[in-house]
Symmetry: C2
């Protein structure tokens, strides 16, 4: 059987463990006789279109192994969504040219919901044109909002980091609350789904332990109820620890972060939802507050990876390469929960069409009746995903051993292409 | 020799390792025949005044050992500064009453510059009144701004956390920069001194690695030079990673964070300096940005403690208790650097009067000529302080084993006291 090469793309926001998936793809490819080399597209689909391909044959087995403990996207990622083949025929034609010029028989697309859609469209196009290219989606997103799969690689590590940070910062504010800060607010990602915010709830074993309040995008913000609970928490615990999702909306569906504030020059004021909440606490209750915005820290915190998450990230990469080599097309390896306590899981296969553009929100039964906490059902779902530690190796200088792989491009064979 | 009891106070902003100092105090006290029990003042000097004392005899050796890996202030801290004995005679009289009621012969005050001042004043008052109470300051502050001592316990862990976070978030933004975020900004603490901001510089080995820009409180902000360097970095590296101290000021000494912005109702707008910098990057250069504000996360991140810092935190607590028992007064155990590579250190003794109210800023020779980076001399100073890992134990649920000690108060003997 003639060898075909693989093209691997990282897409969308990266995670602390997306490179573990790349590691799974490349290590598996090196063991399969059907697979030639793996090309990493530089900056995802953009590099595929520009014929900017990183031949991973340049990287030794030792270098590839460092992907297991290095955050960020080793080949670069992008935010670029292919439209329908009819609307963007030029791009699809170019992909065919690149596939043919580099003998690509396996196309692996590592991303979230939008990326599943892109992978699905490429697979349809390949099928229509009779190309012998297997298109496989590979799941990844800290937002944990893909359907079908039990969880999304990347989420477990973010969840562990956020829950730990809430524990730590809550111990801090508790220490200070008698004479200083009484309210601590942590803003987390998740514009449309509250999975990361919910993970903050793991910091306490029950609803009265910190965080005393979680604000979810799924629950319309009720200012009066919120302020009442902040006051109750300060009156009863001495302080209040709050986790707020960036996606919290008012009852009209308007993001709280878009509060319409302007600076001295009338420009729209930047500032996350944490700022809005902090201001509300100050103006309405007069409590001293602190707030943190974890932003990229929460999705790159490889130093506190969940071992479970890391293993799942590797497993989906491995299985994706196997599925491609076995001749599957338009599918994605997904994680299936077999048992909950102890948590066991395996990898099954889903159709890309069932994953594209579907957002899995936090179900109502995961949110407490008052809207400010997580239920036991939610804990049972989340807890296994943060289990186990997988610290990176540390150098003698006290910092993690993170590695930048060479991104030397393979010689181009086609004319330049503007995107 | 009759036993005397010890009173231990935590003061000011807490750190990820201040409880390791408490552990050093209590474990040492348990081994010294001169020392009876150690009382932890609930919420620092406020608890001392209110006679709210936590008798640590209620805690087993195993419980005391958990202080080594639990962040926050186990007995509570406060922001409360005693004025001169003449101005606040009532408070000093009360302290004498509490000392006498509970047979306190050793007063250990664990804090930063303000706290050294308080400990010094209490020692002067005790001397004037002929009290047999040894007053010892114990160093602590993530700001690293105490004079005399080589470093301040708490700083090394914050430095390790910030340097690691900068490495991680910079790998993230680098991955995204081709089609999305080009500028990442991390706001760190240090209102008057740039030690924490400087620690962010350890993320790269030289000035062109991320962070490409550090903004220090010691360097007046030059908007034109800053924007030029952001643009240069994006043009040459594809992205720009920035660490900004909350204390950055313009050439007139005005904090950038106090940019005078107002909300729709004309209220002063909250928002850290990261917001101001982000807005500037957007308005003047048009780059997509992200920013994180680490706030309390940076001072409570026990999960990523520096082993060196943890050992120093314990050592100053141990030595403080020994100094008190040996009859020293108005002193503080401080850290002395013996050799730099490998880093060796010991504990010596400084006079409290030399530490009170003196702020050690980043010296000019630690800042590169362009004002945006750290010099090799700065690296040589900082690097040893983040060396070694001291992860906390983790529970099977995937979270660190942090412990809240019982704060049951010892029976009060005096009338109530309002502060």
């Amino acid at each position: 059987m003639p060898k075909k090469n693989a093209l691997y793309c990282q897409s969308g926001g990266v995670t602390a463990v997306i490179n573990a998936t790349a590691c799974g793809v490349i290590q598996t490819a090196r063991s399969l006789p059907e697979v030639g080399t793996v090309f990493g597209a530089k900056n995802g689909i953009i590099g595929a279109l520009r014929e900017e391909l990183i031949d991973t044959a340049q990287h030794s087995d030792e270098e590839i192994a460092t992907l297991m403990h290095t955050p960020g996207g080793a080949f670069g990622s992008c935010r670029f969504k292919l439209k329908d083949p009819e609307a963007q025929k030029r791009e699809y034609d170019r992909l065919v040219d690149v596939f043919e010029a580099h003998n690509i028989g396996y196309f692996l697309y590592n991303g979230g919901g939008d990326s599943s859609d892109t992978a699905h469209k490429v697979s349809q196009m390949a099928h229509q044109r009779g190309l012998d290219v297997m298109c496989i989606g590979v799941p990844k997103t800290i937002d944990n909002d893909l359907p079908v799969t039990d969880t999304c690689p990347g989420f477990g590590t973010t969840a562990k980091y956020i829950a730990t940070s809430v524990m730590e910062a809550s111990l801090d504010v508790e220490s200070m609350s008698e004479s200083s800060t009484k309210v601590f607010i942590l803003e987390v990602m998740g514009r449309h789904a509250g999975w990361i915010a919910a993970a903050g709830g793991l910091a306490g074993k029950h609803h009265d332990e910190p965080p005393q309040i979680i604000l979810f995008p799924e629950v319309p913000f009720d200012q009066a109820a919120f302020l009442e609970r902040v006051k109750w928490s300060v009156d009863n615990h001495g302080y209040c620890s709050i986790v707020v999702s960036e996606g919290v909306q008012d009852k009209n569906g308007k993001f709280l972060a878009d509060a319409g504030t302007t600076d001295a020059f009338g420009h729209a004021q930047l500032g996350g939802v944490a700022t809005v909440i902090a201001q509300m606490v100050r103006d309405e209750l007069g409590f001293k507050y602190h707030y943190a915005i974890s932003d990229y820290l929460q999705r790159s915190a490889r130093h506190l990876a969940s071992k479970t998450d890391l293993e799942q990230a590797y497993a989906v990469g491995k299985r994706a390469m196997e599925l491609a080599a076995e001749g599957h097309n338009a599918v994605m390896p997904v994680i299936r929960r077999l048992t909950e306590d102890p948590y066991t899981w395996d990898i099954t296969t889903a159709e890309l069409k069932d994953l594209a553009n579907v957002e899995k929100k936090l179900p109502p039964e995961f949110i407490t009746e008052d809207g400010f906490g997580i239920t036991d059902a939610c804990r049972r779902y989340l807890q296994p995903l943060i289990q186990g530690e997988a610290f990176p190796p540390f150098n003698a200088d006290g910092l993690p051993h993170y590695v930048r792989l060479s991104q030397t491009l393979t010689p181009q064979k086609l004319p330049a292409f503007d995107i």
